[in-house]
């Protein structure tokens, strides 16, 4: 007799965003093998954008569904879908930023965009996971291609170093998380989030196995979300990686890591909230201070944004700490505006990297205000928004987070967010001051060939920046402002995401 294997029911409609991403990954890999240059350099990125766009479209189509997929391995709800849309928007931006960048050319176009799509698919699995095994599966599907992406500029030492460093530190994080997940399974006898939540209910504080599991899982996720004191890899990796990859990591990986933290802590471990809340709040506070202080002395814009991303993780963690619907909504809201603010800044950095031999140094953007308003304004708006000035999405986002913190009885954490913002002014304003109030840096040395590859068809002094980069910079800057003036659509979106999590109030 042949033993009949029961295959689980598969809801293809619910899985369709994931299918679009993985299908796109395969397609670009195959198409990238074709000979003609225009296919590799033009058609492949377009295909990647199309696949991201399809995933967004399918997410909108599935909006409002709240079902379990694959026998409860994945959860399709508005939290998954809203974050997926964020990942895909970041993905489209990353494709645009990479279009004429050196990284995909060195890594071969098909492979590069295939990796990018796989990372995004991993993010979908990660934030949708409601089972410890799928969670880890998603995490690895996200991480492994990302290690490779960091090292795609194969002829630049920094890029290779960054990839290796990320691989080592990331593996430590993954291993720690895996230990934590194993402990959780041992303590509760279930890999299923619902089962864990039932087991955790009640008997908590004296179960050392469970406590160990929570602690190790927290540390593992802290590595991924670059939460202090597990953030040390962030500046090095961000600085070394190709800038489009850095931009994608800064926004999408952050969103994925916080998304899974929300789901793990606010769904599976919600019964133990009195155990982890204070610890997580402490970590958030440390992260805010460490990130902001670390950014103070940086002269490399990528390092500066890396430390700033550490600090922003701390702000967003406040939304996780309070374990309320409001907190979830505030975190998702901030993730969305954070995406817009950062991508605008990274687009400008990439443009200047190609135009000047100064790389990502702050000198590269000096004097932009008088000569290049289309670059100066997006960078300025992005910096002011990150600092939390009003009339930008950053202000509303910070307001929302403080609101959530205060309403969740963490007034002191709200004050720490504010203190962090004060420190952050010093470095964000330094960039703005460089843009508007300093003369352009003297570009003495001509571009040496191996160091900064000149853009095809464009001299370093080219007056016009590539149109797709300008589009990213101006578009996301406009979105940042729009989110500060008419935030209601975004609020509606995150409202549904907050409602999706059961057991919160």
């Amino acid at each position: 007799m042949i033993a009949a294997v029961e295959t689980p029911y598969i809801d293809w409609a619910g899985l369709s965003p994931l299918v679009a991403l993985l299908g796109g990954a395969l397609a670009v890999l195959v198409v990238g093998l074709l000979r003609p240059r225009w296919i590799r350099e033009g058609f492949v990125p377009l295909l990647a954008i199309a696949s991201f766009g399809t995933a967004i479209g399918l997410s909108i189509w599935q909006w409002g569904e709240r079902t379990d997929l694959m026998e409860g391995a994945l959860r399709l709800d508005e939290l998954t879908l809203s974050l997926t849309m964020l990942f895909c928007v970041a993905g489209i931006a990353a494709v645009l930023l990479s279009w004429r960048h050196v990284a995909p050319r060195e890594a071969a176009h098909g492979e590069y965009y295939c990796l990018l799509l796989s990372v995004t698919a991993g993010m979908f699995v990660l934030v949708a996971a409601q089972n410890l095994v799928t969670l880890f599966l998603g995490l690895e599907l996200l991480s492994v291609p990302l290690y490779v992406l960091c090292a795609t500029e194969t002829r630049r030492e920094g890029s290779l170093e960054s990839g290796l460093k990320y691989l080592i530190v990331g593996s430590v994080g993954s291993a720690t998380l895996l230990f934590g997940l194993a402990f959780l399974y041992g303590a509760t006898g279930s890999t299923d989030f619902a089962g864990i939540a039932r087991a955790v209910e009640g008997s908590v504080s004296d179960d050392s196995l469970l406590l160990g599991g929570v602690a190790l899982a927290m540390v593992g996720l802290a590595f991924k979300a670059s939460v202090a004191p597990f953030h040390q890899w962030t500046p090095d990796v961000y600085e070394g990686a190709p800038t489009p990859v850095t931009a994608f990591m800064a926004v999408a990986t952050k969103a994925a890591a916080l998304g899974v933290t929300l789901r793990l802590f606010d769904v599976a471990l919600i019964g133990a909230s009195d155990v982890w809340q204070d610890v997580l709040a402490f970590l958030a506070a440390v992260t805010i201070i460490v990130g902001n202080v670390g950014a103070l002395g940086q002269s490399s814009l990528k390092r500066l944004l890396a430390y700033s991303s550490v600090a922003q993780s701390g702000y967003m963690l406040a939304g996780v700490v309070v374990a309320t619907r409001l907190g979830v909504q505030a975190t998702v809201f901030y993730l969305a505006v954070y995406l817009a603010m950062n991508l605008a800044a990274f687009a400008v950095i990439i443009i200047r990297e190609r135009e000047t031999p100064l790389g990502d140094s702050i000198d590269a953007v000096a004097g932009l205000g008088s000569s290049r308003p289309l670059l100066a304004w997006p960078l300025t708006i992005s910096m002011l928004a990150l600092a939390g000035f009003p009339v930008t999405g950053g202000f509303i986002g910070k307001f929302y987070l403080i609101d959530a913190a205060v309403a969740g009885d963490y007034v002191w954490l709200g004050v720490v967010i504010v203190i962090g913002s004060m420190i952050s002014l010093a470095y964000y304003l330094r960039v703005v001051a460089a843009v508007w109030m300093r003369p352009a840096a003297e570009v003495a040395a001509p571009v040496s060939p191996g160091e900064t590859p000149a853009l095809a068809g464009g001299a370093p002094e080219a007056d016009r920046a590539p149109v797709e980069l300008l589009f990213v910079a101006v578009g996301f800057a406009a979105l940042t402002i729009a989110a500060g003036i008419v935030p209601q659509p975004l609020f509606d979106l995150v409202h549904d995401a907050g409602q999706a999590l059961p057991g919160l109030f």
Partner: protein, 501 residues
């Protein structure tokens, strides 16, 4: 008459954005037209204002962000009516003044200037705490750029210092504002930031205390008051003069207004608790500001430190927690704005003629520029609160209020009046008399185009001196209402309303 305050607020910005799209040659004209339009609108509001009615007029009240309970609520009452007029008057003067001079990248300059006016008008009319915070923080952005790009000397350092100082205060205020909204909603009340609604809810004493301190930090930095004035010397030295005129004339008043609009009605217990502390800070500002104004030789800083002293008087009037004191504070806020702006314009004219802003290089201009000297003399008399000037009425009311509540503070503060005479007269004598016999004999009279700016401002000072009731009458009801609860607590007419935590 229907008046839409949203239009008043956004008119300057809208006109400036139109100016961006036009050829550079037209920018100045557009900027002047824009500021005049807003001024006209403000005059209509003052004329139309019903001084007998209590409560807000021309209210706009819409939902802005429903999730956060933030409303787009604007309104005018006696507290902000004349500050709005003052804002539009000074902005018109500054815009005209600036358009008579040449600037690098004029489009951006006038855009920032207009954005600043929009933000200030927004902060003055906002009746929702969150909205107030938004506009209060927004005020800073254009001044950061105006100082950093068009300033003089160590402008980048100065502007960074200015922004960090003020934003530290503002961000503290942001967290305090959120806490006020969230913590005052007890039971199943929904969160609101409407100031009138917040005034009716009560916060526990301990919470009120820290929230009060956060708000006070924001306002005292903005004024600036001793000992939070560290940004002032650098900031004042670096700002372009027309920008400085509105900055010193209006922005510090927004802070003083914030005390009356928000702090006194919403945190009455903490206000009473910290009354003497605030009075002490006010006294120190008066004495420190006066002494510094007397010793420094930089003309801008003489005016800067005199502002510290004057703002000290305003804080004194507010925290006397008496109707007379608060009324005097509002009147004095208008007076000071109206006086300090022309004073800065006179400084600019002096600097253009002498080539330096140091008192030691000046002198003897009274003979060569009698008209300018006369106008400067009127301004000087107003600064030193000459009996007959509106400043005299303002300071008198403030001291009267203080005498009624805390007599010791009033006695010490009275010396500030004398000190003001000393530094104001020194400024005038050193700048205009004191002929050093240099051979600059040609006429140094004020030009016709500059007098377009200066003469109306001086005329406004004289007009207000002749008829200060214009402002007093319209603000009376609102100031009484603003101090009512705190006064009742301070004098023990009612028992403490808030529950002990």
């Amino acid at each position: 008459m229907t008046i839409h305050l949203s239009i008043v607020i956004f008119l300057p910005l809208a006109v400036a954005v139109v100016g961006l799209l036009l050829p550079t040659a037209l920018v100045r004209g557009v900027a002047i037209v824009g500021s005049l339009l807003v001024l006209a609108y403000a005059i209509v509001i003052v004329a139309d204002f019903e001084s007998g009615a209590s409560g807000l007029q021309y209210v706009t009240n819409d939902v802005w962000i429903s999730e956060l309970g933030i409303r787009w609520k604007l309104g005018v009452d006696g507290l902000n009516l004349f500050l709005i007029l003052l804002t539009t008057v000074l902005w018109t003067a500054s815009t005209v003044w600036a358009s008579l001079r040449s600037w690098d990248r004029p489009k951006l300059f006038f855009l920032h200037l207009a954005l600043a006016e929009t933000a200030v008008l927004g902060a003055l009319t906002a009746q929702d705490l969150a909205l107030f915070v938004v506009f209060f923080d927004l005020m800073l952005v254009p001044f950061f750029f105006l100082t950093g790009q068009w300033g003089t000397g160590e402008r980048v350092r100065a502007t960074t210092k200015l922004v960090i100082y003020t934003l530290v205060g503002s961000l503290l205020m942001l967290s305090a504002a959120v806490a006020t909204g969230v913590l005052s909603a007890s039971g199943d009340q929904s969160i609101t930031f409407e100031i009138s609604a917040l005034a009716e809810r009560t916060l526990p004493r301990g919470t009120q205390d820290w929230i009060f301190l956060f708000f006070a930090a924001a306002f005292l930095v903005k004024m600036p008051a001793f000992p939070l004035h560290g940004w002032m010397p650098d900031g004042y030295t670096s700002m372009p003069l027309p920008v400085l005129a509105v900055f010193s004339g209006v922005l510090s008043k927004v802070a003083a207004y914030g005390f009356l609009r928000i702090v006194l009605p919403v945190f009455p217990d903490a206000t009473v608790h910290y009354q003497e502390f605030m009075l002490l800070l006010a006294l120190m500002s008066i004495l420190y500001g006066s002494v510094m104004a007397f010793t420094t030789t930089q003309v801008r800083l003489v005016l800067g430190y005199s502002s510290v002293a004057q703002l000290g008087f305003i804080v004194l009037g507010i925290f006397a927690l008496r109707e007379t004191g608060a009324q005097g504070a509002i009147l004095q806020a208008v007076n000071h704005g109206l006086v300090v702006a022309p004073a800065f314009f006179v400084v600019a004219l002096l600097a253009e003629r002498v080539g330096s802003e140091d008192l030691r290089d000046m002198g003897g201009l009274a003979l060569r520029a009698p008209v300018l000297a006369t106008m400067a003399l009127i301004v000087t008399f107003a600064i030193l609160a000459m009996p007959g000037s509106s400043n005299f009425v303002g300071e008198f009311l403030i001291l009267l209020g203080t005498f009624q509540s805390k007599i010791v503070f009033a006695f010490v503060a009275s010396t500030g009046v004398v000190l003001a005479a000393v530094y104001a007269l020194r400024l005038f004598i050193r700048a205009f008399h004191n002929d050093r016999g240099v051979e600059r004999q040609e006429s140094r009279e004020i030009s016709l185009r500059d007098s377009f700016v200066l003469v109306p401002l001086v005329a406004a000072i004289v007009a207000l001196a002749l008829y200060p009731q214009l402002a007093l009458h319209r603000s009376e009801r609102s100031t009484t209402q603003a101090v009512a609860e705190a006064k009742a607590l301070a004098t023990g007419e009612v028992a403490r309303t808030a529950v002990m935590p």
